[in-house]
Symmetry: C2
Subunit: 176 residues, 2 copies
DNA sequence: CCTGCCATGTAACGAGTTACATGATTTC
DNA sequence: GAAATCATGTAACTCGTTACATGGCAGG
């Protein structure tokens, strides 16, 4: 996952590992955190695979290691980006893809967002079924907080579906 | 984390590894998934630490490995449960603690929930600051989807705060 | 008798964190 | 000249997954 985020970052412009960390912190820290201990090895790995290329650049006297995306890297990133977002993985890590959705063409993006929305609707149905089972089989008083996490899930998925609707229509989110 | 969830499950009643997986699936699958490949080793580890005790029981001819929590295990679980929920870890994994909050006494629970709510409020402020930076420094049109993930974060945190308010007051969540 | 679920486990791997080590450069 | 931040990296570790292996029991 982080591998592709890094690839997506250097896709915008050449960066150092340090830069990438700052970008992640200021952009997708809601979903994802990265430590140097994972970033630097990933950059090396990507370089070995030929998806990025490293070059040294001296800003003043100081030399920094900049990374540049290759054609192959761009292709790999594109494939990842156009793979539908999975919802079944518990934590919404995959959602990070949408951060890069400005790069997609309108019809492709629309298709992917609609699909993601549908997945959420399906998942929501599953949660409602779970709710029914709970309500039928258990003493509500003793299980208030057990049930509450289920309702939390329901609310979050509902909110996610609303958000999908809004960004599909490209509504101005700052006014809502 | 999963270690404590397992501990929490056997705290309710003696269970087999298989049972625990089913309970997790029907209860906290929204936040957490567990595989047998992690469950069974964790049970062994807990047994080695003396936090649970295993015994065999023959249901018919078939023998199953049941796990029973020890006093020490109960204590360890309690300490974990009463440790405030962290919000800074990106994925809301820690939220799973609330699943077990029925076990807490009202005042302790209230204290912990209010604290969690406050942490969310603080986190939300940080997101609004990020928003300001974004809006000031970047071209809104080219960065619609980058901004949208930030707004998603804002909405989710807002929803989480609302949910905290509701469960602190022990509102009936099914009617909302 | 065979399919599907119950039940337990292990080995290899993956993804990322924490803590440490190092040193340069900027800012006060 | 001290402190903060820039900048790069490694080693040990944690936590978990995937895939495999094994076998029992139940219902059609």
């Amino acid at each position: 996952m982080l591998e592709y985020i890094v690839l997506g970052m250097v896709n915008y412009e050449d960066m150092t590992g340090y830069d990438i960390k700052k970008y992640i912190e200021s952009g997708i820290s809601v979903f994802y955190k990265a430590s140097f201990g994972s970033l630097y090895p990933i950059l090396k790995k990507l370089a070995n695979k030929g998806l990025v290329a490293m070059y040294e650049s001296n800003h003043g006297d100081r030399k920094k290691n900049y990374y540049h995306i290759t054609d192959e890297g761009r292709k790999a990133f594109e494939i990842w980006l156009e793979t539908p977002i999975m919802i079944d993985d518990g934590n919404g890590t995959q959602l990070v893809k949408i951060y890069f959705y400005d790069l997609l063409q309108e019809d492709k993006r629309r298709e992917l967002l609609i699909r993601y929305r549908e997945n959420n609707v399906t998942y929501l149905k599953g949660l409602y079924e779970l709710e029914e089972q709970y309500v039928n089989t258990r003493n509500k008083d003793c299980y208030y907080y057990k049930l509450s996490v289920l309702y939390y899930g329901i609310r979050i998925i509902k909110e996610t579906i609303k958000w999908c609707d809004d960004i599909i229509e490209r509504k101005d989110l700052s006014e809502i």
